[in-house]
């Protein structure tokens, strides 16, 4: 089959690799019908998440049809049309039973590495480096999925792939980030980053009762899309974000602030340069936490900072004084995708959230390296790129399934 493969920092290739096989009785093989490139794939591509090994198959947002199941799979059947949540739930550990599926105790086959870096190991994640298990990802024609009964989520036939694909990651991630904002009626929420997660954060914040949402980015097309979802916007290259947020909120600051940017934030000034220099070593600092710093500074006293942005290691100069003296709450986490699926499916079916709006590019799998490039550099107005693993490179017409 064809798959998108990491061959080193900034080297993505489409290669022919062996078809996946059932390796455990609870596995299922999915014929991938649609997959997407996520912002965190860029951190992997850029080599900022440790433990990528060349030859790894990427992709943690994918869906398709079940074509084979292991002998112990009961609920999921061959022929089911499913989405595959990116964190892997075993379905039985205490965390999974609490709905905290991204913290699963049992799904990471390689937990010692995560424990070395983070103290404890969270769930395994598809196509997301060896620290989260080293599972092959779904930017491929077929994918092996594990603990199928606990993870694969059957989607209704009357919804298109494009309507449900983002349930695998960016939509629940934006939603959980908004939930983590602890919104109360009338609240003002500010969101750093108007990428897919930030945009779904805007939509979700409104669904959860925010009165106003302020979206902060530097790309006009992203800000325009945030406005289409109902947000007010700030372009941080044109305005002083801190001052503008104060002005927009009567001097108080937003009730909650979301960092939907993560470890590769753009920053000007001395601190930004220092971050960039330290980050190139991957040791002195592994993050550029500018958005997190700004979020803490901007949030109103007693407010909440929500962090869906991905961080991997160590960050410098976090304003803990501001954080403590202003009595802020910090809420974080990889998304517990499973717990939001029914709710969000309902929002999609009732037209309250339209996930397809963020799609700007539809490419064949062969074009994935180009997709990574334009997404990374925000060329061509790229906000979200989805890939068709069966489209022919030249025609983009779906080719027949394997016999």
């Amino acid at each position: 089959m064809k798959a998108v493969v990491w061959q080193g920092v900034n080297r993505m290739r489409v290669e022919t690799v062996p078809d996946p096989e059932i390796l455990r009785p609870t596995d299922a093989i999915v014929r991938v019908s649609a997959t997407a490139i996520c912002g965190s794939d860029l951190h992997l591509m850029d080599g900022y998440v440790p433990s990528m090994v060349h030859g790894d198959i990427l992709g943690h947002e994918f869906m398709g049809e079940v074509v084979e199941v292991g002998p112990e799979v009961r609920r999921v059947k061959v022929g089911d049309r499913v989405i595959v949540p990116f964190p892997i739930s075993c379905g039985v550990c205490w965390y999974c039973k609490q709905g905290l599926t991204s913290l699963c105790d049992n799904s990471n086959p390689n937990p010692a590495l995560a424990e070395t870096m983070w103290g404890h190991a969270p769930a395994g994640i598809y196509g997301y480096s060896h620290i989260t298990g080293g599972y092959a990802g779904g930017q491929a024609q077929f994918a092996r999925t594990v603990f199928a009964d606990a993870n694969l989520y059957t989607v209704p036939d009357d919804l298109t792939d494009e309507q449900v694909l983002f349930l695998t990651d960016v939509l629940p991630t934006g939603y959980m980030a908004a939930e983590n904002c602890q919104i109360e009626g009338g609240d003002v929420v500010a969101i750093f980053g108007a990428g897919p997660v930030g945009l779904f954060g805007v939509a979700s914040a409104f669904v959860l009762g925010a009165e106003r949402v302020i979206s902060i980015d530097r790309f006009p097309e992203r800000l325009e899309m945030a406005r289409a979802y109902g947000a007010e916007t700030i372009n941080y290259e044109e305005e002083n974000v801190f001052e503008r947020l104060k002005e927009l909120t009567g001097g108080r600051g937003p009730d909650s602030v979301m960092d939907a940017v993560g470890l590769e934030a753009q920053a000007h000034g001395l601190l930004g340069v220092a971050d960039a220099v330290k980050q190139t070593t991957r040791v002195l600092e592994t993050e550029r936490p500018h958005a997190l710093r700004a979020a803490i500074m901007a949030c109103r006293k007693g407010g909440t900072v929500s962090v869906p942005g991905v961080y991997g290691g160590l960050a410098d100069k976090i304003p803990l004084g501001a954080f403590m003296n202003k009595g802020l709450t910090l809420k974080t986490g990889q998304t517990h995708v499973h717990r939001y699926l029914d709710t969000l499916l309902g929002h999609i079916q009732h037209g309250r959230i339209d996930p397809t709006r963020i799609i700007t590019h539809r490419l064949s799998l062969e074009d994935a390296p180009h997709g990574y490039h334009i997404f990374k550099h925000k060329h061509d107005g790229c906000i979200k790129c989805i890939l068709d693993p069966w489209a022919d490179h030249s025609t983009h017409q779906p080719s027949p399934p394997r016999p």
Binding site: A3, T26, H54, V92, W94, P111, G124, R282
Partner: protein
Amino acid sequence: MTTHDQARRDSPQNSSPADRLLFGGLAVGLIALSVRQRGSVGVFLGAGGALLLAGAAMGEGLGPALTHVRRTEDDHIRVQKAITIGMSADDLYSFWRHLENLPRFMQHLDSVTTQDGDGRRSHWVARAPAGTHVAWDAEITADEPGRRIAWRSLAGATVPNEGEVEFRPAPQGRGTELHVSLTYRPPGGSLGATVARLLGEDPEMQVAQDLRRLKRVLEVGHEPTTEGQSSARKGPAKAEAKMYDNRRTS
């Protein structure tokens, strides 16, 4: 003697100033090297350097830091580990008390056979390098259903050893805490080699892995794996992936 008393009597492992200088220097070297290497090799060297530097700064010697071997005052090797498993203390006790089950999660064990009617005496066979085996007899010295089992090897064992496992209910429906304590009394002189034969190079890590395997076998029925999955790796590149997957990074 409780496990807490034992922990307090462990001898200190602080490294000498010379150690710290040496490994601090090595660490800086690795970091410097990592800056000049692209990709995962650079990350790897850098991470190694950072770990060494942290070790040097905190005064932990390289030997113990790498092997995690803890010795008691009388030069025994002790390993203590705990894990929480989503199962009742009674069920966990029953599983463990049926000593034949131990090789299902203790990787170095080939077999445990109970020998007489009440199952207090048992014969243990452990794997050693190059297809060889080490065998010894053991007896149960304490048996409190649902709470605690202790055992020790009988006279004649190559590496006299004893162990104890306690089952304590975990709060808020989290299941049962398993507290394991193992002590090895290696014969003088051949300490390192003999224990390595029994438990691999790193007893702490070995026991931690065994307990995690137990949790996974009991909670989900098997250990998750990526062994045999698709990738674009061939030949030597596979070894690099294995290095991560075999947890050899700390």
